[in-house]
Amino acid sequence: MSDLTIDPISLEIMLNALRSVADETYNALTRSAYSTNIKERRDHSTAVMDANGRLVAQAENSLPVHLSSMAGLMRALLDKYPGAEIREGDIFVSNDPHVAGGSHLPDINLAMPVFVNGRCLAFVCNIAHHADVGGMVPGSIAGGMTEIYQEGLRIPAVKLFDQGQLVRDIFDILLLNVRVPDERKGDYNAQIAACRLGERRMQEFAGRHGPETLETAFGEIIRRTEDRLRRAVSEIPDGTYSFEDMMDDDGCENYDIVIRITVRVRGGRISFDFAGTAPQTAGNINAPINASHATLCYVLKALVDPDVPNNEGVLNVCEMIAEPGTLVNCVAPAPCAARANTCQRIVDVVIGALKDALPEAAVAASNGANTAAVYSGARPDSGETYVYLETIGGGFGGRAAKDGTDGVQVHSTNTSNLPIEVMETEYPLRVSRYELVQDSGGAGEHRGGLAIRRDVEPIGHVCNFSGQGERFRHAPWGLFGGSSGKTGRFALILGSGRETRLSGKPMSVEVPPGVTISAQTAGGGGYGDPEKRSADRCQEDFDSGKFSPEFMKRHYGFR
């Protein structure tokens, strides 16, 4: 690296251009992909990394959990391929959490080097959640699996393109192992196009500023972000803070799995020690270290400086301590398809630990889950297989200055729903209800947000349903006197209206027409003493019908 220094004005202009590259590739991927996961739910991210694999800039709408998966892929890739084997026009692909830095198999990672004057200047990366990567159940996410081999195709870091030429053999293997290959091919094409677009833009960018200046800028951007976040951390009172919470279960009949954290803050340094957390478990809620680390980055940013840019500097500040073989740092062959549920719980646990240090920023426990529902089956008209995955939002925790948001994706996930009209047009399913759940938000001076209920019924065929629920046993807790939110549940509703409750992580349940699958998430916990809730807010809760007269009377003495 050269000794150039870059002033804060030029650096701002270059950072602006780098973000523009990341955003442009993000938008191109959204618009041209095939999976509903990508095109509607926006379960994808794009980024620019430097030649050493350090994250420099991420698209504005990128997902936190993808932050360190990209860094993980880059480490795996650079370990495997010596510099001379990385050539212009190469595109690398990977997804494996255990050997290629991924966080679960459906997230397919692509990286392409950007060459300028014959030298590798940077990489452009993108991650997209494919609707299916093969394995035991459609959608590749369901409870009951005990090894990663059951979760789908494992891809180490390999070349999908070699100097601009598609490696057909690899691509054939990728496509043969998935349930709807045509759709996946469309997704790969969109990801490949996004890589190439990023490469072109980065080359234009280097043409304007010169590669040496850019390399210096990359380092400077990361350094400044790290300094900035450390300054924010130094405003947290020094101390040691602990908290624990429990996962409901792992889908293999292991219940109440502990996540424990000890946060140590001293003069601008912060470490997150998971000592006391349960060992990795049989079911698929294990989190690879990259997923856990990305989650810590999310929650630290959200608590102390939400606007800090997303780059390697953030990763550097978050020190994570966790024994390999634990729930938050699992090793092969642990299954980890549903790691997002665990990540959501890590967020709650960290906030729980820091609540007294940061009472204004802290929020009560939220839905704390990434409630997933996967529907699959044979289309009644054509007999073709379909797989459709959705995740359902819930209640956000009550906040220091206002109520928690009702019916929303919380914390480290922010994926859109699929419009009902699009879903029913594309799949033989009918939504009969999509609504907020009365009385589900915990009472408090600022109450928790309401949960969501979504009822879906198969049309003209027997649907195969798998689900991943969390906070169905352990309710989202309130803060500073607020009460807990209501737990969620999966159930089948028969034609007679009778309800049969399913487990929290049902696998491959056969659902005939006339039977409704009902998914209900958890509501957020309340913040502060319910007695302090203003009469106006109580009136509003009552008038809106969001809370029943009984609830209002019991928690607020309101009538």
Binding site: I13, S32, A193, K301, V308
Partner: protein, 686 residues
């Protein structure tokens, strides 16, 4: 019957532009806006303009109006109390939206609360399926009960939004008709009427917004119609819409949401007019004002349209001129972020207190202060000296950010200018490069108070070779209104496979649309010779979810286009936008669009008076030091020209400053300016 008048009501000024269709004479006028009752300024200005220019009021045959009444009512939450009637099981749809938060990392930010409180959302047991099949019709009892509930709630307006009403609207129609009949005076907006397109949340949101604005807008239009009826009884009144076309008062009353972004749309129309006069067909527009900059793209003389956009946090799905707004204006504040980087905007010092250099108590460093320090603003002030420049205040403000980053005041001012340019460049890339258009093939048309100060630099950064500053950048919106056509967008959401051979399945859809369009032509009394229409198809690969719009320029409503031709057109468009296309994949049509125009007859015989005078080189009115490059560190003595005395055919070489009443244009060293025959400044970027 010869005058057409365009009136654009803005936040500060109400602008008038009139053109005599016979002899091409024009008139311009400007009065202060009267936000409490916008019609007041319109009447006053109209009278003054007619007096000043000797225009007989009965000679005004057309009156085209751009209004922000709807936009303001939304921003200030002064719309109606609205109820929603929706499909049973979905009363929370508006509130859940797409179940996302506006910013993933913020624990505090929320989307705005819905315009219909939950207590006013009423469910009705009914259902339509994706193929337009009626799964359940509402019962008579259900309808009666719903009407009672809406009546009891005492609302002014009601939105009727059912799932899949875009595919079959009979359930929605039934309840809407029953509501109108059962509750006289109630404003009813129904989603299958407002914009019958797939995606329930966006359609519902658009419909609710329409209902929310209807009573306010109706009251305004009624007032306007009655006062204009007295002054200019023979004029046809047109209301400008966000799609860049006009509509009648009657239609405007029913669809106020269509006007929600009509202001910026008029600016783009004005640009098109100026551009076509000077024979530029491909133009990027840059309207930089006090708080923000709007950019748009014009291809072959037509503005690009987009159908989805958020307005004040609410999604609106309607065809709108595709304008990207960025927080980069003269009042944008410079600040130092926590990582020590210098940022500009999006926060603005606004008009009050405004930039420090205007001496109204502002102390924060803004883009205008940077321009003052650099010598780009006339020290004697704007508006002919009415707004003096306080250079010391500007320097003091810039020093607030210069010291922490260890730069001189001058270097920092240049940096602020560079950053605001970079922010606008990013916005232009959004609407050009990211849509597959190369800005180097375009001319940059700059207007708004601050546009001329930065346009040449923005052009330079994008590789644009020509920048045009129109003759009257301050009244471009009013000018746009005068040249606007009447316009109606019709759409049918349908799902048709693109097969080989002629697409017979398209024919009934087109026929249905054509019938609706005929009704519109009749209702708006558009003479046959002015009628025109365009067909476009939204297409995608089967399995994709974002459609690409493919216009069919030479198609007609009574012939079915060939499938192979459509395939070719779609693949070309996909390649252009995304860089690839899979020729083997199946393609489907999702929306069929028919846009009707009542073309405004343009008098082509109008001839401009050419000047026969011998041209002299323009003479600067003064010379003042302006800083262009920090490397030289000393401001260069730069000639200053008055716009008013620049004659067509004259040219000059930068560095130079061209000043006029409400704006300033800056040329860098080596840039060459030519005044064209329409008195536009045409700048060749060096």
């Amino acid at each position: 019957m010869t005058w057409t008048v365009g009136v654009d009501v803005g936040g500060s000024f109400t602008d008038f532009f009139a053109v005599n269709e016979h002899d091409g004479r024009t008139a311009v006028h400007k009065v202060l806006s009267t936000p409490q009752n916008p019609a007041q300024a319109i009447i006053q200005g109209l009278r003054e303009m007619c007096d000043d220019h000797g225009i007989a009021t009965h000679a005004i045959s057309r009156f085209s109006h751009g209004t922000t009444v709807g936009t303001n009512a939304l921003i200030q939450r002064k719309g109606a109390r609205v109820a929603l009637v929706t499909t049973s099981g979905f009363r929370d749809l508006l509130e859940i939206g797409r179940q996302t938060r506006p910013s993933i990392f913020s624990l505090q930010l929320d989307h705005p609360a819905p315009l219909v409180p939950r207590g006013l959302c009423f469910e009705l047991d009914e259902r339509t399926g994706p193929g337009g099949e009626i799964v359940r019709s509402p019962s008579d009892v259900g309808i009666l009960e719903t009407i009672d509930r809406v009546r009891e709630s005492g609302v002014d307006a009601c939105a009727v939004c059912f799932l899949f009403s875009f595919a079959a609207d009979s359930n929605e129609r039934r309840i809407a008709a029953a509501l109108r009949k059962g509750i006289p005076g109630l404003y009813v907006s129904r989603s299958s009427d407002i914009y019958p397109e797939i995606r329930e949340f966006e359609r519902f949101s658009t419909t609710v917004l329409n209902a929310y604005l209807q009573p306010v807008f109706d009251e305004y239009l009624t007032t306007l119609e009655s006062v204009l009826g007295e002054i200019i009884p023979s004029a046809a009144i047109g209301i400008n819409q966000s799609n860049g076309g006009l509509t009648s008062i009657g239609t405007g009353r029913d669809y106020p949401v269509r006007t929600i972004l009509s202001g910026p749309a008029a600016g783009v129309l004005g640009s098109i007019h100026v551009a076509l006069e000077s024979s530029y067909k491909n133009v990027i527009t840059l309207d930089m004002g006090g708080t923000s900059a709007d950019v748009g793209l014009v291809r072959e003389g037509e503005a690009d349209l987009s159908t989805s956009r958020d307005v004040a946090g609410f999604p609106v799905r309607l065809p709108m001129i595709d304008i990207h707004t960025v927080g980069a204006g003269g009042g944008s504040v410079a600040w130092i972020d926590r990582d020590g980087l210098l940022k500009v905007g999006p926060r603005s010092a606004g008009a009050d207190p405004g930039p420090a250099c205007y001496g109204r108590g502002g102390v924060e460093p803004t883009v205008s202060d940077a321009n003052a320090v650099l010598g780009r603003l006339d020290p004697s002030g704007l508006l002919g000296g009415k707004m003096k420049i306080d250079l010391d205040a500007a320097r003091n403000a810039i020093r607030l950010v210069a010291e922490p980053i260890g730069h001189s005041v001058e270097a920092t001012a240049l940096g602020i200018s560079d950053i605001v340019v970079a922010n606008m460049v990013r916005a232009v890339r959004r609407i050009s490069v990211e849509r597959g258009y190369d800005p180097r093939d375009y001319t940059l048309m700059s207007f708004g108070g601050a546009g001329g100060l930065h346009a040449v630099e923005v052009g330079r950064m994008l590789g644009i070779r020509k920048v045009v500053v129109p003759h009257s950048p301050g009244i471009l919106c009013a000018m746009g209104l005068v040249v606007a056509d009447m316009k109606e967008d019709l759409v049918r959401s349908t799902r048709l496979p693109v097969t080989d051979g002629n697409l017979e399945s398209l024919r009934p859809v087109l026929e249905g649309l054509a019938k609706d369009l005929d009704d519109w032509f009749e209702a708006e009394r558009i003479p046959g010779c002015d009628r025109d229409c365009q067909i476009a198809l939204d297409m995608r690969f089967v399995g994709q979810n974002h459609e690409l719009r493919v216009p069919l320029p030479d198609a007609s409503v009574d012939s079915a286009p060939s499938g192979s031709r459509l395939t070719d057109m779609f693949l070309t468009e996909h390649r252009r936008c995304y860089g690839y296309a899979n020729a083997d994949d199946r393609i489907e049509i999702i929306n069929v669009r028919l846009t009707g125009f009542g073309r405004r007859r343009r008098d082509s015989s109008r001839e401009r008076k050419r000047s026969n005078r011998e041209l002299k080189c323009p003479r600067p009115v003064t010379v003042r030091p302006v800083l262009f490059d920090i490397a030289t560190d000393t401001p260069a003595d730069t000639p200053v020209f008055d716009r008013e005395v620049l004659e067509p055919g004259q040219w000059l070489r930068g560095p130079a400053v061209v000043r006029q009443l409400d704006s300033t244009t800056i040329l860098g060293p080596g840039d060459i300016l030519l005044v064209d025959e329409h008195r536009n400044l045409v700048i060749d970027v060096s």
